[in-house]
Amino acid sequence: MKVQVKSFFSVLSGGKPVVRTLDLQEGTTAEDAMKLMKVDFSDGAIILINGRPSNEKSVLSEGDFFVVMPPVSAA
């Protein structure tokens, strides 16, 4: 199945958000997709699947648009 992933984690190293279309197996979770995108999830993330707040265990489906953003607070 094809899933489009947009990661904002790349901005933490000076880049722009990265968009990739992944060809995944049925049952792939958001966490699996983040690993493929080399997203460091150790501090958590904002995970939106088709705009809906989700979590790392959420299972992706054909045609999903998956956005992952760093979990930032004030400083």
């Binding site: 904002f8 901005v11 933490l12 000076g14 880049g15 722009k16 958000p17 999830f41 150790s42 501090d43 958590g44 993330a45 904002i46 995970i47 939106l48 088709n50 705009g51 809906r52 707040p53 989700s54 979590n55 790392e56 956005v67 953003m69 760093p70 979990p71 930032v72 607070s73 004030a74 400083a75």
Partner: protein
Amino acid sequence: MEKADIFARNRAFWGRERQELLAGKSLFVAGMGALGCVVAEILVRCGIGEIVIADRGIVDPPDLNRQTLYTLNELGESKVGCAAGRLRTLTGQTRVVPAKVSIGDDDIAGLLAGCDGVADCLDNFPSRFALEDALPAGTFMVSGGLLGDYGQLTTILPGRTARLKDLFARPDNTGRVTPVTPPIVFAVGSFMAQEILDNLGGTPQLAGVILAIGMSCLFTERVPIDAS
């Protein structure tokens, strides 16, 4: 000096009605670190009637690269005490209420009562979630965050938009030293202040939307959130 003189340039742009509306509004600023300082200063210069500033911390040397209301002269002093003194000298038209409290530990219901909105400028997730839980009905919260030279902000409307608690999956920045550069502080703080003005005027732009800002590539992007 006449109040009319101080806000002449504001009024020339947005008119007398909006200036008078702001004079009748109250904002609670949670956290007087980097974003809290910028948001509070801008809202005072805009002419807001009252601002409640909440923080339990003292001024430390590493704060001075980005926390704009403090100087070398205030090291070791209470942040809310220093900030209140500085904010009161800017225009003399805003009632400034300092509150040395720990959000999540202390009862802030009395401080929030009567505020039209909240600026979430806190540096840790447990306190941010506790603040969200304490929001009175009908109150908005503009929530911002920073990391390196990247930032995000959004408006939370209880019962109408996704909650912060639902938005962040397994967040943990407890005890970390967060890298932050001065330009992103001013950028995110300025966008937060504008979004607060828009909420106070009844027309928020970021309810159900995350605005992402990156300084290295000078990009901004709106990311919609589906709360249904």
